[in-house]
């Protein structure tokens, strides 16, 4: 094994215990940003870099299966992505807790660390103080399309495109977040002028939040393409003009009807092959009508309507892809898109702040919503949580309640949101009201929200491969309880989404896109193959080419040169100095832990 000269990247390896994985002590936790049934998000400041970050807690629901698979998958995807318009996973942070009395061994809590983003688009649109100018809309739209172009080119389907998953910071940067439903796309990536192309394998059709779900998904096309994300982009585009979601169906069937109201009923011309699809809730006939889109968006000008038409095209094969959308004349006619840095800054306000300040806000919880719920909205165990018409859509994954869209920036903090909401459901005792993150928020019954308040957002279906282990469960787990679209998750482990996961692994390997990579300890990854030669020494050498990030890390790591020398000494002496052989040399705390840990493990083996 090569003992190459220890140059800068090499010594960076000694600086921190685990790269890509730090302690929660490295962060000053400031505020709680959001709270939901399945996760909490905190605003925090990094002690090392001073950067403001968002920490998203990963709850260990099912200890017996180890680390949650949904979280692992999201992390794996995020680690492979690097783009200015995709939320970055900075690292993972570990919090070690003292064991609570009577709880046995202590548990570590893990956090995903992402940059702090001030708003999400949905919150921004809700904020009456924020005016959306056309250059601003164009600017956001361009960034959204850039992000989508990158994702699709990297063979990733996002599958939960919606305004609430688009985060925006005060520098005008928009980032796509929440990859909890994302998966690898096994088909050829979109090409210029070719629309979405065609898929050759089945995917689960239970993805995408209903209001942003494209018609082909509602008609249960299984071989869908990257075009599903483009539909969502179209919905977001329209939403920026109307400042509220444009297609707010209260059931799948209603959703497809209002889609056809907007863009016209399908014909063999506008949506070839639609008659061969299973249909929506068994309905396969739709009254012929012409779409009202041009009329509805009349004020936005010809180019905007044209882009909307392209994005909201019924034929998924012809729907415009991100590459082409970026070239759309809309962005090339005045008023021109603003530059992100020229956008105005807005106050970020988070849901909790708003609650603190204004406790008397009308709690528009659905009528009858508290049946079976305790005073704090938790489920008392008296039968399954009640469905309450359009207000809810089965157990709320996000716990964000009846009103999925909050005030600006609320809970949709970076990496916040429902990514891990898809973990296995909590045991009944811990369930919260499906529409309420916690009781005092909107646990009590009340009138439906006034017109001015945004509609509740229906939720994305449970993930195909999610903690609930759906997939094959899709239809089976669907129970009609008053509302059309109520999902009741099955709590069993059976029937994982096999078809959906198959070859995910394999196909990820196939991808050969070059982008910023890191080695598994978080070193920048050598990308050029030329550098990858001559055994182990060269990893060193090619690392030099990327000094920037290495240096940054080594500065952060902060172990002194003396210390490093000490370690080197230790290594040199390891065969010479017998007495010191058993000395723990890497870090003092390891020595302390060592004996007790060994004893513990020994015990386990003996049993």
């Amino acid at each position: 094994m090569a003992h190459g000269p220890s140059s800068s990247p090499a010594s960076a390896g000694l600086n921190r215990k685990f790269h890509g994985c730090s302690s929660i002590k490295d962060y000053d936790v400031m505020d709680k940003l959001g709270e939901g049934t399945f996760g909490e998000v905190y605003k925090a400041k990094s002690r090392k870099t001073g950067a403001t970050v968002a920490l998203k807690k990963i709850l260990m629901h099912n200890e017996k299966d180890g680390f949650p698979i949904t979280a692992l998958r999201e992390i794996k995807l995020l680690k492979m992505l690097s783009h200015v318009n995709v939320l970055k996973l900075e690292e993972m942070a570990v919090e070690r807790n003292k064991a609570a009395p009577g709880e046995g061994r202590k548990r570590a809590v893990l956090y995903m660390v992402t940059p702090y983003m001030d708003h999400d688009l949905s919150g921004l649109l809700d904020n009456h103080e924020v005016r959306m100018t056309v250059p601003q809309i164009k600017c956001y739209m361009l960034q959204l399309l850039e992000g989508l172009r990158y994702l699709h080119d990297s063979s990733i389907l996002h599958r939960d495109m919606k305004a609430a998953n688009l985060l925006i910071n005060n520098r005008g940067i928009l980032q796509i977040a929440d990859f909890g439903l994302a998966r690898h796309y096994d088909e050829p990536v979109p090409r210029k002028g070719k629309g979405g192309g065609e898929a050759h394998r089945d995917y689960t059709s239970l993805v995408v939040t209903r209001w942003y779900r494209p018609p082909e998904l509602l008609l249960q096309l299984r071989r869908y393409t990257t075009a599903i994300d483009m539909w969502g982009a179209g919905c977001v585009f329209g939403e920026m003009f109307k400042r509220k979601p444009i297609l707010t169906g209260n059931s799948d069937l209603n959703q497809i009807q209002i889609i056809f109201d907007l863009v016209g009923a399908p014909t063999e011309e506008s949506m070839p092959g639609w008659r061969d699809l299973p249909g929506c809730d068994g309905v396969r006939e739709f009254a012929p009508r012409r779409g009202s889109l041009a009329h509805v968006f009349n004020d936005q000008g010809r180019e905007a309507v044209s882009l909307l038409y392209d994005l909201l095209r019924l034929d998924w094969r012809k729907r415009i892809n991100a590459i082409d959308a970026l070239e759309h004349p809309y962005f090339k006619t005045p008023p021109f898109p603003a530059r992100p840095e020229d956008l105005p800054r807005f106050h970020d306000s988070h849901e909790l702040d708003r609650r603190r300040g204004n406790k008397a806000a009308p709690p528009p919880a659905p009528a009858g919503g508290t049946v079976g719920m305790g005073p704090n909205g938790e489920w008392t165990g008296a039968g399954p949580p009640q469905s309450s018409g359009i207000w809810m859509n089965g157990p709320d994954r996000s716990g964000r309640g009846f009103q999925d869209r909050g005030p600006p920036g609320m809970s949709r903090v970076p990496g916040a949101g429902p990514s891990y909401d898809r973990g296995p459901p909590l045991p009944p005792g811990h369930r919260r009201a499906p529409w309420g993150g916690d009781g005092h928020r909107h646990g009590h019954g009340g009138p439906p929200p006034p017109e001015s308040v945004r509609h509740p957002l229906p939720h994305a279906p449970h993930p195909p491969y999610g903690g609930g282990y759906g997939g094959d469960r899709d239809r089976g787990g669907r129970v009609t309880m008053g509302a059309k679209d109520t999902y009741v998750p099955r709590y069993s482990d059976g029937g994982r989404g096999r078809e959906d996961r198959r070859s995910r692994e394999r196909s990820l390997d196939r991808r050969s896109r070059s982008r910023d990579r890191q080695d598994w300890r978080g070193h920048p990854f050598q990308d050029d193959r030329a550098g990858g030669r001559r055994g182990s020494i060269q990893s060193d050498r090619s690392g030099n080419g990327r000094n920037g990030s290495h240096d940054e890390r080594s500065e952060r790591g902060g172990r002194s040169q003396e210390e490093r020398d000490f370690y080197r000494d230790r290594r040199d002496h390891r065969y010479v100095d017998r007495d010191r052989r058993h000395t723990r040399s890497r870090s003092p705390d390891r020595e302390r832990d060592y004996n007790s840990r060994r004893d513990r493990e020994r015990e386990l083996y003996r049993r």
Binding site: L72, G532, S539
Partner: protein, 292 residues
Amino acid sequence: MAANSLASSAQLASSASQLDGVPHHLETSLVFAGSALAQAAGVLLRLPQEIIAQAIVIFARVWVGSEGASLKEHSAKHVSAACLYLAAKLSAHSRLPRAVLNVYAFLDALPPTSLFDDAAALDDPGPKAYYLTEGDYHARRSLMMKLEAIVLRILGFNTHVALPYTLCINYLQAVEAFAQPQGSAVAKRAFAHLNSSLMNPQRLYLTHQPHSLATAAIYLAAREVGLKLPGDEWWEVFDTDREELGFLVVAMISMGGFVEQEKRRWEKSRPPLTVDQLDRELERLGAMDDGE
């Protein structure tokens, strides 16, 4: 993503185990034995080879560098099980913890030579020998989950492993190997080299990218089978230069001798794959040194 994260030279230069006083040769032996265990268990669990390969690469990564895991702290055997469980979980072929633990208990009950033979072909030691009591099961499962978390932390949650198998077939197609009668024999032989390289003491999967591994495996296999490959320097087309190719081929050839040596070494006794056994082995080695 067709490329892997490679180990830095600092990571290769030292390891936590060595810092803890485990001699290099013993460490090599144990990492090999743990990988062989994962391979055997993977076969018994009917996992596809690509998942077994990913598990072995993850397993190898865990021990590398001063910040990796130490054999004095974590038992190779249990880490091997955790890596296999993790790799399977990330794939479309997840296995229940109980299945993984049962298979490891079964392999434990086999004679020491089982590491070097096809475990499935050995005599069944009888269910009593490998029965896991409920208590054992729970203890081992929670240990496995703990180790899974430790593995993830050491890897910085980077669980991606790129493998050379598909590339290997692509390259063989590119050089039109399958047009010749020995084509499929070469492919099999190349895959065999790729499989055994997973356990190569030179940690080839941690130091070389899949495309180079595939190229070297093809070069060696074609030599062995007698397949004629296109003119000079064909490997350059696959981004592998002569020097790297030479290094890899020599390393792959050396694998046979290494396994023989390991086989002789652990003929009588089991490799010390737990922390306890390792401590005893180190004491024994220490006593032998003193005796000299």
